[in-house]
Symmetry: D2
Subunit: 337 residues, 4 copies
């Protein structure tokens, strides 16, 4: 159950509500978001007339949510969440947000060329990794905070926003001034300490579905961040692990319409990691639009075959320009239906 | 290795080629198709100059094919296979074939209403089951051959073709006059005796991918039919079994562009069985078009909630009309890219 | 619901029971087994007092079974099914049945050497394939019925029984005189026509779990055979398909104690196909005993590296002798607990 | 390639080796373990005569290791790693280490009763969680550091060691004095920052296989810790995620003999999380012994039905005593083979 409180509620009144809930067999979790809202998320099983709570002082609204996740459920908040990155750049249902860039941030030249490419194609958000999760401890792990600072300076010249992965909570403070969207990687979907820490940050957070993460688990992971106090959330489908090895991952497009129905959060598709093979990124990206993705994130590099990582799934600039044109046409068609 | 023979080759000359292959360490499998071609599929591992065979009498062409499947490989036959159903009805790359109908054939009234709906929407192929594979022995198993005959008579009035599942080889002869495309169901993908038997039939065969079938296995299953003598083949993606239970199956759209590259056979998408939930059949069908499916097969029923089987994934007539309109627009957009 | 009928029930009395069931909202499926029992399996959802049926003439016993499968459920028949192969050879709970032999039957010499090995080690059932399901149409498919006849003659000299795979119903009659246990392979678990046909045979049938078969589906497949009229059934775990590729299949030992609780049928473990790597067949076989398997089936060959098929998972004779000794000791320990 | 260095090597000599490696196309990663060894792990692809390096000053030994993981490979170190916890308590191949305790540490009384139980049954290591990873943010998350301190004091009275989960690197310092083995949970298998941090700790670390972790990935994760400087490592199989839902996880016993061949690290089996159902923990634990596990970790509670978490898979004290007796007998049998 979600009880929306008057943001200026007196603590004695709030206490009275909590006591009432306890007598009804419910434990109340208080959530105050950095975006200014105040909730009690009440967990329990008994049946009772919610109007008993709804009419109490300090209660603005009350919703029964039967899902395991609550605050991220669309049963409660029917209007889709809009992520506002400032400077008029938004991610929202009905528009198609594009995010593109290399797997790894490598050099000033690489960044600058990518920014030129993005600018020319109207892409407003650049992806790239400065902290790279790698299967082997001996592989390249990214340029780190210095790479991020350099990247940040360059993006501001172009008016382009940054999305990049944060791997542990101790990195958050250092990264904070230079990041527009924090990305939680697939391997960290259930890194609950990281999710807790990101709940205390007033920056958007995009959580990628884990390799064997269920949709319900993904939603509960976003509930961690929301209940920690941060409402600025996005989800991302990037492929799951199955028995089939003809491609890198089984990019699960089924997830997108189902997530869109279950949650008010924007849902982004990552066809690059999804299918993991350059030749098929385009069809999977176009398909993502048709199933209702609110945005597409993909990998692009001036010379994919020389990229520090993920070259086999990275588009060249001409391929990327071509894809963007087709994405826009597909999105326009779909919106017109 | 595939050696295409002169269809009128003398058996003594063919024998000479087989002997030559044997000395090179290859076993030759002779394939004569009902469609009039003659091949030797040679299996072996040694390296040799294929021109030694290519220049022999009776050899029209020779191709090295490294895949486990041979005759269905696009490495050998680059032009896509066209399935001609007669009366100007074809399934071919670049067009979008539509097949729709109920899960089970139930009654004359049901068939007639469906045919009216299909006719009105320009759909030329009707699907439906008269032999139903069911998990439980106590469930409805279909109307059988009498249902098929009734269905056949009705379709001819409308100029609409039939695709229906055959479950075992002993059914083939009886079904033969009334079927335009034999469907091999997911559970029978590796029913090799059935595949062998369908290799001897001059009717198109559509093989559905098994619940845990790899793309390579699916292609080898179609190789069974082709090497048995029947070139009229289609493949169908209908969802695989994974850990995720938020939907019925994981409809694997990744499979479609990869199959299209590996084989010259048409690839059909079945979003109804794929995601298995009515509300999401439309987006998954549109996505199938964008990834390159040559056709869409879906379930439709006048009153889905009263269907004998699969009601939860079956579209109503208005939903179906709406989908068909969007499919055509999506296909036109894609072809124009 | 399972209603056990008096085997000599008059049809008018049976009809009365069926009518009564229909008024209660249940459809009755009549099952007469070749082993002499007579049942009505009633499928429906309404609640009623089962004594209303229980006290009717001709009813010997009545059981409510909530599982999707009925006749194979241990909720109904608590005593384990014993498979009697004649000549004092039985498969039953509390004993450990051993079945061993090559993947493919190859030659008289091969059979004879295997029989000598089995005899020397007290193994009473020999496995081997004469009809081989193969992924590729160009691979060796077995010696067929002639191989089976030769094999049969030889086994009778040694007093050893035969278990072998049947691939389609049209093979049953020919194979019948020469087979002691029909095996349904993993790829045919849901070949419902084959299961129906085996329901009409008075010979034991062992059904292998499909590569992505759930335990519930496996049980429903055995229900097909039982409801068709054949109570002589065994189940076999042989590995499932997962994302892990460090071995051939994920041999699922979890399945065994769970199946043992759900059904009264004997459960056999096949570690050879399970893990699919010779070096690990022994530990997986011993583990199978500890989780409660009623029997072990494994592959053995005089010269595994020369076997026509499955050599990589086949034990040599000395390895097999060693395994059998350890299996017996493990089983004795477990029974003593 | 692993180059074992003289621990007292001069840095100029080491530099010479690194330069030589670079000219051969190899990048050298220096590893100095807290246990006193010094290595260069050289990553590259060219072929060369390893004796060219082997004969250089300061090089004690050199091994070519083709696996993606190096230091944890048994190709290099054939003798099994022994984990010495002090006070004569060791985990080593050929012995069977037992670790048992509740899912969550709950109270002094609970701890004391568990310790009495363990002591009476000769179990020397107690498991329990004070930081609990939970799918829902609203679930009980453990008693934290204060619970750990209380637990620690009690265990010392009984001479029993502690294994408990660490969830993020910032917890390590606080936990350090009170922990005998740090456990990395399944959800954190690829939390590379945590693995890096545990590489700098002179305490044993047990890494659990992730829900969709391959064996190769698990080994690479342990390589993170080893290459970070900590050789005291154990691996743990705890079940993977598959399509089958008849149990909690697919406890993958295949993993154990394969890991034992690939690595010199001890391998522990966790049947409680593996199959996740109390009635089947015993058979799966006994099976774990037969496939070669070096230890068993399982959940036990005085009153499982009242446990704060995981009650459905937790044994009672009598069940636990019974299991321990059978585990010892099974292990004795197996060692005697």
């Amino acid at each position: 159950m979600i009880i929306q409180l008057d943001p200026n509620i007196a603590s004695s009144i709030k206490h009275k509500i909590e006591m009432k809930l306890r007598t009804l067999g419910y434990e109340a979790n208080e959530v105050k978001t950095l975006q200014g809202s105040s909730y009690l998320v009440a967990i329990g099983k008994n049946e009772f007339d919610i109007r008993d709570i709804g009419k109490m002082d300090g209660v603005m609204d009350i919703h029964r949510v039967s899902d395991a996740y609550k605050l991220v459920s669309r049963k409660w908040r029917v209007n889709p969440t809009i992520i506002d990155l400032g400077d008029g750049i938004k991610i929202e249902e009905g528009k198609l947000a594009l995010m593109a860039g290399p797997c790894s941030i490598e050099s000033e030249e690489q960044i600058r060329k990518t920014l030129e490419h993005l600018k020319a194609n109207g892409v407003q958000i650049m992806r790239g990794g400065v902290y790279k999760p790698r299967s082997s401890p001996y592989a390249f792990r990214g340029l780190g905070i210095d790479g991020l600072k350099m990247w940040y300076e360059l993006t501001r010249e172009y008016g382009i926003k940054i999305i990049t992965e944060v791997m542990q909570s101790s990195q958050i403070d250092d990264m904070m001034p230079y990041v527009d969207i924090f990305q939680v990687g697939a391997r960290n979907m259930q890194n609950f300490n990281l999710l807790d820490a990101l709940g205390q940050v007033d920056k958007p957070v995009m959580i990628k579905r884990g390799m064997s993460g269920t949709l319900d688990e993904l939603l509960q992971c976003s509930e961690y961040v929301f209940s920690g106090g941060n409402e600025k959330l996005l989800l991302c489908e990037r492929g799951i692990r199955t028995y089939e090895k003809a491609y890198r991952n089984t990019f699960d497009l089924n997830a997108i319409p189902i997530l869109k129905e279950k949650t008010h959060l924007p849902v982004i598709a990552d066809p690059s990691h999804g299918i993991g093979l350059r030749a098929y990124v385009e069809p999977m990206a176009l398909a993502s639009v048709m199933v209702g993705a609110d945005g597409i994130i993909f990998e692009v590099h001036e010379t994919p075959e020389k990229a520090f990582s993920d070259g086999q799934q990275t588009l060249s600039f001409p391929e990327s320009s071509d894809l963007i044109r087709k994405l826009k046409a597909s999105h326009a068609l779909k919106e017109g239906f």
